[in-house]
């Protein structure tokens, strides 16, 4: 197939991995940008989501944020930050990615905390737990599966979108694809695409495992999770910003 064998040759050459600005260097930049963006989004979205979710208000705002965020092209936001006074480069990319990572985390945290049974919360209060203890030891464990879904969606989105940053002067693995298009080198294009796709899939996998580890209650294997699907109302699409392909 066109380009696929050349891509394998490229990926098999250790020099392409270890050279300056080689795959390892780009991978480290890619992961660093993604990690900072997701952590920053967590620090903003989690407190807001918890506050709104436990208070049970702001559903209109959350709905608007999750819908509008779907309509804003990732490329547009990356470019807008790149031409703002921040200047193009990794800082602009990180800020743009943070903005992208907020809606899924916010929406899922909100839905998760709002969905906690008020009776359970009241019982915890009646047992003398403080407000903070109720949030940390009652609400959080119950909301955790949804919160983790939000974090997983956001992380996969961010890792995927970071590849687009190369189109507007950013770093990361997208550079390989961009270079390939610049040189009309099919092998390079496919090699970059394989790397980015693999990284996105690995991120998804890693976070599925992390979710499985941190979720309290009887351990269900990730691959058997589908069997308990009927706890969602059939016919109603999941209420969360389950993300858009990037």
């Amino acid at each position: 197939m066109t380009g696929f064998s050349e891509a394998l040759v490229y990926l098999n050459d250790p020099y392409n991995w270890t050279k300056t600005d080689g795959i390892f260097d780009l991978l480290i930049v890619h992961l660093a940008i993604s990690a900072v963006a997701v952590l920053a989004a967590l620090m903003i979205a989690l407190p807001v989501g918890i506050a709104l979710g436990t208070a049970g208000r702001g559903s209109g705002l959350i709905l608007v944020i999750s819908n509008v965020s779907r309509a804003v092209p990732t490329l547009a936001l990356l470019t807008l930050f790149a031409v703002s006074p921040i200047g193009f480069g990794n800082r602009a990319t990180t800020i743009a990615l943070t903005v992208f990572a907020i809606p899924p985390i916010l929406t899922n945290t909100y839905v998760g905390f709002r969905g906690v049974d008020p009776d359970v919360r009241e019982a915890a209060r009646a047992m003398g737990m403080s407000r903070g203890a109720v949030i940390g030891r009652v609400d959080l464990p119950l909301a955790l599966p949804l919160v983790m879904t939000g974090i997983r969606t956001a992380a996969v989105q961010v890792v995927a979108t970071a590849g687009l940053a190369a189109l507007v002067g950013g770093g990361g693995l997208g550079r390989i694809v961009n270079l390939g298009f610049g040189q009309q080198d099919y092998g390079l294009i496919i090699a970059g695409a394989i790397l980015i796709a693999a990284l996105a899939l690995l991120t998804e996998l890693a976070l599925v495992l992390l979710t499985w580890v941190v979720t309290p209650g009887p351990r269900r294997y990730p691959w058997s999770a589908r069997r308990r699907a009927p706890d969602t109302v059939p016919g109603v699409p999941e209420p969360t910003a389950s993300g858009v392909p990037l």
Partner: protein
């Protein structure tokens, strides 16, 4: 600060829009064509798949797993994978867009079909409804809200995704975004492209919401 800030580089410039109206319209046309064809083709493929997965339960798992897999592949990689086969053409963009809209639609169609109460279908079958009539008069009306929700999500995200088509030179309004970036960071052009995309997505969503209201007259109740 960028060096270009020495010269005036406003975020929005009406004269840019007026002077380049023809170009903008051409890209807008491409954007709309790509979106509509992707969603329509995606729906045409997704519906039989969803029906198949509903009727043969063992298929539902694999179909959902495959859709998650496709969903996780970044668009940049997706277009790059398709590029060697179809080159710098709209076909490359279209195939990628169909794949993504298909994935969104299959999930929502399947959720809608699974939400049809089994006893209603049973009753219809008992009254002598054939499979076609069962789908047309029972499944479709009951699953329509979920179908429309899926179509709206697929349309809005497809409008946003078309921009990544700039990779192969067919990104609709996305061409303005990278065009402005490459034209010495010309902000007016970039913002026109970006705002155009968002407006197009919102208009498409409103149109589909209108269609939903028209085709589900029985659902006009005050939402909680």
């Amino acid at each position: 600060m960028l060096a270009v800030d020495a010269a005036p580089n406003p975020w929005f410039d009406p004269s840019y829009v007026i002077d380049n109206w023809d170009t903008i319209l051409r890209y807008l046309g491409e954007h709309v064509r790509l979106t509509v064809s992707a969603v329509v083709l995606g729906a045409l493929i997704a519906l039989p798949l969803a029906l198949l997965a509903r009727n043969a339960r063992f298929l539902a798992g694999p179909v959902l797993a495959l859709s998650t897999l496709i969903y996780t592949i970044p668009s940049l990689a997706m277009f790059a994978f398709i590029f060697p086969f179809t080159g710098l053409s709209t076909t490359t963009v279209l195939i990628g867009l169909v794949a993504y809209s298909l994935v969104i639609l299959v999930r929502n169609f399947l959720a809608g079909l699974q939400g049809v109460p089994a006893d209603v279908r049973e009753a219809a079958r008992g009254m002598g409804y054939g499979p076609l009539r069962l789908f047309w008069q029972i499944d479709l009306p009951l699953a329509l809200p979920a179908f429309m929700a899926g179509l709206r999500i697929a349309t809005v995200s497809t409008v946003a995704l078309v921009t990544v088509g700039v990779l192969v030179g067919h990104g609709g309004l996305g061409q303005l975004i990278t065009g402005g970036f490459n034209a010495n960071f010309y902000r007016a052009e970039i913002v026109t492209g970006a705002v155009g995309c968002v407006l197009l997505a919102l208009i498409a969503d409103l149109l589909l919401a209108g269609v939903e209201r028209l085709v589900t007259p029985w659902a006009r109740v005050v939402r909680p």
